[in-house]
Amino acid sequence: MQLPERQELDQLSEEKIKMVYALADKMPDGQLRGQLKDQIRHRLKKIRPLRRLTASRLFCLPFESLLSNDALRVRTFGSIPRNCVGPLWSLVKEELPDHGAIDRIDASNQMLMPQPCPMMEHRQLLASFADAVSRIRSNLSSDRGMPARLAAMHRDLPDVMEEVHAIYQMRDEILTAKRQIMASEQLIGIGDDYARSVMALARQASAGRGDQRWYKLFFLVLLMDEDLADHSGALIEALAEKSARGAGASIASEVCELMVAREGEALKAGFAAALTTPADLNAAADQVRASAESLGVMRLASPHLNRQIGESIDQMEGRIHEFLGGQFAKAASASVASFTGGPGESLPTMDEIKALGQTILAVAKVQAAIHHIYDPPADLKELAKTAIESVGARLDRIAAARVAGTMRQKQDALAVAVQVARSIEPISNEETVLEMLEDCAVQLGFAESSDPAQFFLKIIHAMNTTHE
């Protein structure tokens, strides 16, 4: 069976992707199923379709945010390769005394609810999973041959088992922390003090373990959770302050280092994607913005972190700069050129204007994302400048061709000019975009005024005239 190409899948609407995902979920061949899901995983992250509840998904729930698709790299602490889940789950199943409950879950045809508050039945299952993981982990330390046997199943399995065990042991505190963070958004009770409360929960969960890895894992699970992304700044800050006060090994540094590495992987994947449509440009811009924000948060905490973190952040930001000045600027220029290079006198279609608007929005997004880091790359700056000029030139040509036209033709041209001016607004200053619109309107004989308010009133009158 031949799977569709990623490019084809990228063209699909969100609704279609949800359908593809639902179908993929029913594919009997596990390998093909995995391949197809990998092709659309970058979109699933954004769309987040409902997933069918299965026992294995329920098992992964506590450490889901740590799952990583990258199986080639040497595994870093707190990163659980997705292809490790299969062998891990089969080991756990062997340890479960009763398969009735998991069979019922698999046959239930329910959907997996994303709330951080599992149902009672699921809590019981999670407890039995925790026991099973605990037993495997105990065997791992007592049975000398077991690490090798696990490594034969997956090279990272012994280490992953340790981390999954730790997370399972801390799952109640992690869930409580997650609930508190989310509640702070919903304004119930916890408010702005959640960071302090989460710190206390982390200490409670990892107390007496004699191992800082538990503490780090606690934060990694939360910081990697996309639902909590808006709160990572406050958490890192709290963690960094605590580490600084402790003056010991900086846990915050290690956690941030892992997060920077994760951002690097995400960027690598994002930079490798084709930039053929305005939607691609926006996806790339979103990725850049998310990474820049994440790195920015860590940079704020960097005075409390190791110097190495600052260097890693510099490197990442350098790569972003390079990408924006290269591939991104080139693709955006091509997209703008396809608009400005259109036949001079004819009116652009709404689709063409929409494409221009999306491209400009992507450029504006990245400009805003990197504004606090460095000057935009020269090519990107040049693109913004030439885009405004060339779009203005096309509007002039359109207006000039209709100077002697009918009122209807002039109104249509003005309507287009308004839409084009709106498209360019995100990268233009007010005066420039207003001038562009006014030049066009004046050529069409609608308005001339030194006062912007009067100009707008004339435009409003012109566009409402036929209806009055």
Partner: protein
């Protein structure tokens, strides 16, 4: 610029610093939740009219007239990410913020049309949206909305004529036949005929009676008559508000939802009562015409109050629908946004039996206000602008 309560005294007195909340507790009956609200406006005038700006920092802000200086001012909630309501001078808005093209046009139109009541604002907003400055969808929606307003006016006039025809038995035709004629080309001549007979009934000059009939139908346009199907923008808004309340209650999203549903419920109850009173007043047309000057003034005042009361709720309905688009994954940011903009019933406008839970609501609002401007660049967030434009397009078509 001042940063304070929307009440006039505070807005001037606390310029440049944040006033301490002055909590006032109100007693109420068992069914009524206890209320006290911080910075709550006393009247609709003080609360201001929602301006459909698309600049994110100004979205859902309100405009009102400063009674001392007679100048317009804008009330912006949570502008700084703090807890205050900021009061900006209308004319100086562009020196404080970068506005979208649409908002600059809207500002000019509002100034020209003095559109500081909800009904005038609605017209001004549609006229500006029709330029396309808020996007093609908003432009199309505004055109549909303007047509709907014209259609509402026509339907109300016809409905009123039918009432008078029934009342006077004036024409030598069956009622059904007359109904058809009222809708036809002879409508104008029927108005003349009807007003002549009705003038005799009310003992008023027929020209005056005719003018008043048209004035009354104009005044009733936004509400329509009770027994007319799908009549009036305000009745439709009230229906949406009822649906919103039911939907929020059913969603069971906790304390925030509870407060939002309560506020919607109290507003809906007040609106129902006000509409009931208008419907009762208008039922006896000869009596209404008998004391015309007083009654028409009261009707216009009641209609204005009703429009003020329901002002801003369509935006809340839209935000709610957007927040609940995926029920498995409720968008809590939009819920928070709802709490930021939810139209509180001003203290002085509350009926004595209705005191809404504004204390908690106010406290919650203080905590949820968020900065909307890109905090690093101070640039307009055009993605948020697009979202606001989409809301604008959807709310226009009611």
């Amino acid at each position: 610029m001042s940063r304070s309560s929307p009440t006039s005294s505070l807005s001037r007195g606390a310029a440049g610093k944040q006033a301490e909340p002055a909590r006032v507790a109100y007693g109420g009956d068992a069914q009524t939740l206890r209320l006290a609200y911080d910075y709550a406006p006393s009247t609709f005038d003080e609360r201001g009219t929602t301006v459909p700006f698309t600049t994110p920092e100004l979205a859902f802000s309100r405009v009102r007239r400063d009674s001392r200086t007679n100048h317009l001012e804008v009330l912006v909630m949570g502008f700084s990410g703090g807890r205050s309501i900021y009061v900006f001078p209308w004319e100086g808005l562009t020196s404080v913020l970068r506005l979208t093209l649409h908002d600059r046009a809207l500002q000019a139109e509002i100034s020209l049309a003095d559109a500081i009541t909800p009904m005038r604002m609605r017209l001004a907003a549609h006229r500006v949206a029709r330029t396309g400055l808020a996007g093609v969808e908003a432009a199309a929606a505004a055109s549909v909305a303007m047509e709907r307003i014209a259609q509402d006016e026509k339907l109300t006039r016809e409905a009123m004529l039918r009432r008078i025809i029934r009342l006077t038995g004036v024409l030598d035709k069956t009622t059904d036949d007359l109904m058809r004629r009222v809708r036809g080309r002879v409508g104008e001549s029927i108005i003349v005929q009807v007003s002549e007979v009705f003038a005799k009934l009310t003992r008023q000059p027929s020209d005056l009676c005719r003018t008043r009939l048209l004035e009354l139908s104009d005044a009733m346009g936004p509400l329509g008559f009770a027994d007319e199907e799908d009549a009036g923008y305000l009745r439709r808004t009230l229906r949406q508000l009822g649906d919103l309340r039911a939907s929020i209650s059913a969603a069971n999203i906790g304390a925030t939802g509870h407060l939002a549903a309560e506020t919607a419920g109290v507003t809906a109850r007040m609106a129902e009562r006000m509409i009931g009173e208008i419907d009762r007043e208008i039922r006896n047309l000869p009596a209404f015409f008998g004391n015309w000057e007083t009654n028409i003034a009261q009707l216009r005042h009641a209609m204005d109050r009703l429009a003020w009361l329901l002002d801003g709720w369509l935006d809340v309905c839209e935000l709610w629908q957007a927040a609940m688009a995926d029920r498995q994954n409720i968008d809590h940011r939009r819920i928070a946004e709802i709490m930021r903009i939810i139209p509180l019933v001003p203290k002085g406008e509350c009926e004595t039996t209705v005191r809404v839970t504004m204390d908690n609501l106010s406290g919650i609002r203080h905590r949820i206000v968020q900065q909307l401007q890109d905090w690093r660049t101070g640039e307009v967030d055009y993605e948020v602008v697009s979202r606001i434009e989409a809301i604008k397009a959807r709310t226009a078509v009611l």
